[in-house]
Symmetry: C2
Subunit: 233 residues, 2 copies
Amino acid sequence: METSTGLDKPYIEQGATSSHPSLLIVQELKNLSRPILILRRKKTLLYQGDTFQGLYIVQSGMLKQTLQCKNDNEQLTHFFLPEDIIGLDAIGEGFYSGTVIAIETSGLLHIPFRRIEEFPDLQTSHMQLLRCLSRAMSLEHSRMWQMISQPADVRLACFFAAMSRNFFARGYSPYSFRLAMSRQEMADYLCMAVETLSRLISRFQRQGILTARGHEYCIVDPDALASIAARSK
Amino acid sequence: METSTGLDKPYIEQGATSSHPSLLIVQELKNLSRPILILRRKKTLLYQGDTFQGLYIVQSGMLKQTLQCKNDNEQLTHFFLPEDIIGLDAIGEGFYSGTVIAIETSGLLHIPFRRIEEFPDLQTSHMQLLRCLSRAMSLEHSRMWQMISQPADVRLACFFAAMSRNFFARGYSPYSFRLAMSRQEMADYLCMAVETLSRLISRFQRQGILTARGHEYCIVDPDALASIAARSK
DNA sequence: CGAAAATTTGACGTGATTCAAACGCAGTGG
DNA sequence: CCACTGCGTTTGAATCACGTCAAATTTTCG
């Protein structure tokens, strides 16, 4: 039996979410949404190649996006947290670029539209959408570049630091949280073998930087974590 | 003394360029362009962090885009060929995300505008711009993912195959062309050490796949090249 | 022509993957 | 209640691709 130390206890009542990059458009989109959609763990929201049917906004839970290559290997490209938008990368091409699956029971808002022309109030919001896209591109780029240039321990430290910031920004404790993804999924996201990830988590625990029991993670020494994340190759 | 076997001899008179993804918007943008801009080899077109002053369309020559990290290392993110658009990734943020330098004397068209609102005929063209951005994001993503997941020889083979296709699509020979970039720049682009690149080119020549004399490259055995490019890890 | 830069080649070290095996944990059925 | 099974995680040992260092060779360009 697990005691959820993270997601169930709001750390700051509210307010911190204003720093989320796409908040404005989120607010705008929410006004158009259908009733909330519940997706159980391991259930698929949409498949890679499906024709674009609109965006989704995460309200609770967590999801992953995987990209199936022609080979058998698949790349984990995104974890979606509450207030994240799913499907932005499908607007241009007209079909979803990856399969999205819930890694824990999640609540979603669906903003249905097929073509961008159906998007309401286009004049005032298309600029934001552009910025959103472009920003996503930049973020993705820097993430990938980090995967290429940074050693595995730095990548993992950055991942925990980023998750910590994400939870804090959403009103939860930055030091203790639950990550529903398996080690395999985390390793896929960080572009390393599961064994490497396991070894690194063991090492971090030995060094007193964090503790990991199952899916519960506690950051014991944030400064040490940050110093590893900051150190470049 | 070099005999330019590639760029100087149109392979197909015209027509193949219609397959270029951003051709329509290129045509539209060209109507607004100022007189052509000439940039000599190693001259800088714009610096990373400069405020967005508009897009550039390559007419001739080749340029590179590098991304300066806070560390000393710099990542080569793009090579721009004729008809490519420079600066798309700056629209969202308002400043250029990388430094663009000519690697050979290049002709450019400048489409000056500061804010997206000044963009003419916005209603009909913003959709294309969105698609363009999104497509660039997808391309970039798959490229980066390749860097992470594929071994060095596959990456190099893909690079030559892609260059071959690029030259063919632009009306030149796909089997013999000149690449103005240095080995260092090519290695940066492919995320490998110069020495590794040099060894691989030597190996490919030993295997009779291609020949390289200076900056002139001939693809002798396209099938062998393709089979290396196709093979996944 | 001569200096500086670019390219090639070899030797070596290492971080990360792969292979293999042991361990823990949840669910199932006898 | 306890073996049995399957899955996720951990740990160890061997291997490999690639980067780094260093030196030789070629090319570039004033």
